[in-house]
């Protein structure tokens, strides 16, 4: 009797998990236009639109999860969500720990922003960046003095109040700040290409999910919807080999 009961309990577990295959999508929610939270507390941004469309094409039931940038990869590996879709550039370093889908943006240029009219030596000055970003390691390698802040907001504030000479971040993130600063901020120097485009991070042990998303991204590439999303959110260049 007891055995049957236990079996029944497990069976009910099994049934409840067979049809509902929710994929949890981890994002930061603080990096517009990639991902953000609007005034109604809803997720918005390029990656939210993209992710929802990908899930639809891959026939997956998706749920969005917010996670701090700092612990976004450990929580993926610990299974708190199944993908990272948070403006994460594909790098060698990260590839050692997690897998990536094919990139869904072209390599996004990173740009320096300074106070307008300031003459800054980008190779030896004081450059601000968010802790743990590819830009932070780039600044160290470039020989400049790195100042690290926990949030992207603080990096821009640091340039405004004179703590740092310049900030280095993704072009798409900085552009609205420069445009709306009323001439206070401006781009400086050449853009640099650091990462290999932005992709979705997926556990190495989860290759079937990676395949599903890869084919969904490919299908969006083929019918032109990927490029139109990129244009709509002013992310980066469009893919020349997509429609």
């Amino acid at each position: 009797m007891k055995k049957i009961l236990i079996a029944a309990v497990f069976a009910s577990f099994a049934i409840s998990t067979v049809y509902a295959d929710t994929v949890r999508m981890g994002t930061e929610g603080a990096y517009m236009p990639y991902n953000g939270i609007d005034d109604n507390g809803q997720f918005i941004g390029f990656e939210i639109d993209l992710g929802n469309e990908l899930c639809k094409r891959a026939n997956l039931d998706c749920a969005w999860v917010k996670n701090d940038w700092d612990s976004i990869i450990p929580n993926l590996k610990g299974g708190n969500y199944d993908t990272i879709i948070a403006g994460m550039s594909i790098t060698e370093e990260r590839m050692k720990e997690i897998d990536f889908t094919r990139p869904y943006t072209m390599p996004d240029p990173s740009t320096y922003v300074t106070l307008s009219g300031a003459s800054v030596n980008l190779k030896s000055g004081v450059i601000a960046a968010q802790t743990g970003t590819i830009q932070a390691s780039y600044i160290v390698d470039s020989g400049a003095t790195l100042v690290e802040f926990a949030t992207p907001d603080e990096t821009i504030a640091a340039v405004r109040n004179g703590e740092a000479d310049a900030v280095l971040a993704d072009d798409a993130f900085l552009k609205p700040f420069v445009e709306e600063s009323g001439g206070e901020l401006s781009f400086a120097g050449d853009s640099v290409f650091i990462g290999g485009g932005v992709g979705m991070g997926i556990r190495k042990s989860d290759s079937s999910l990676k395949d599903k998303f890869n084919s969904a991204i490919n299908s969006m590439c083929d019918d032109g919807s990927l490029n139109s999303l990129i244009t709509e959110w002013e992310i980066s260049e469009t893919f020349p080999d997509c429609k």
Binding site: P74, K77, E97, S137, V140, T145, E154
Partner: protein
């Protein structure tokens, strides 16, 4: 083993800017983690020692101020104690940084007669000075409350006896209140010192940005957790270091406690140890 020795030479003093400039990025070894996190501990010790030392003297002033009849002295002391004890350190760091960055960035020269010191307001936005100032006020406020409590509980008989001998004013404070106050407050003050050393790990974490990747133990632990994506090694290493640091503090303060209680017999000493059980 020999490679770990090389790591120690390269990164042992990295947190204060000496040694390899580039931090390890790939194939990070346990040795590198232990060495760099240990290197970061230099900052925790620096913040802790300086803040406790200067905070101690300021806290005495605050405690005496809070105990003073004159409102002009009492109210400022009470306010400082209230604000710094009543709000989280996390928020204090935030406000301190936001305030310091607003200051105009100038150089100031102090002419001390025999030597001229130059300082820059820019330093205030750096952890080594700005963060230190917050910790200084913080520990001073907490310790002041402890010392205030101790002043209030100096046995009235001792004070009456002193007055009978004609000991008053400053002399009464230094010779009668001061030794008893220290003795009574010491166990709680030990706790406060331990907590302050723990609090030093919040400086780079929440308040002040790290420059040139020079930070405290938690900063490097964070860095490794970020590079290796494994939080289960670096954070326990930090924890280990702090346990060691705490044992050292307990030892040093224990020696001081023995000295303060040297005139009492053993039984009374033990009683003091446990009768005051005030944490922070």
């Amino acid at each position: 083993m020999s490679s770990c020795w090389a790591t120690l030479q390269d990164y042992g003093l990295r947190s204060i800017g000496i040694g390899e400039r580039i931090l390890p990025k790939t194939d990070i070894t346990i040795c590198e983690q232990v060495v760099l996190i240990g290197s970061g501990l230099i900052w925790n010790i620096y913040f802790g020692i300086i803040a406790v030392f200067f905070g101690f003297w300021f806290s005495i002033i605050l405690a005496v101020g809070k105990n003073h009849k004159l409102a002009l002295l009492r109210i400022p002391s009470e306010s400082i104690i209230f604000v710094f004890r009543g709000s989280p350190l996390f928020i204090q760091f935030f406000f301190a940084y936001e305030f310091f960055v607003l200051l105009p960035k100038v150089g100031i020269e102090f002419d001390l007669g025999f030597i001229t010191l130059s300082a820059e307001t820019r330093w205030l936005t750096r952890a080594w000075l700005g963060g230190l100032i917050v910790l200084f006020f913080n520990t001073a406020a907490y310790s002041a409350e402890i010392f205030y409590g101790a002043i209030r509980s100096v046995p009235s008989g001792e004070l009456e006896a002193a007055e009978a001998y004609g000991i008053t004013g400053w002399s009464k404070f230094w010779r009668i209140i001061w030794p008893s106050m220290l003795r009574l407050a010491w166990p709680s003050y030990t706790n406060e010192a331990i907590f302050l050393f723990h609090a030093t790990s919040l400086i780079f974490f929440s308040g002040f940005p790290a420059w040139r990747q020079s930070g405290d133990a938690l900063y490097y632990a964070n860095y490794f957790s970020d590079k290796t994506f494994n939080p289960f090694l670096p954070y326990p290493i930090v924890a280990m270091y702090f346990i060691l640091l705490t044992l050292v503090i307990i030892f040093i303060f224990g020696v001081a406690n023995k000295y303060l209680n040297r005139h009492l017999d053993v039984e009374q000493r033990a009683k003091i140890q446990i009768s005051i059980n005030i944490l922070r």
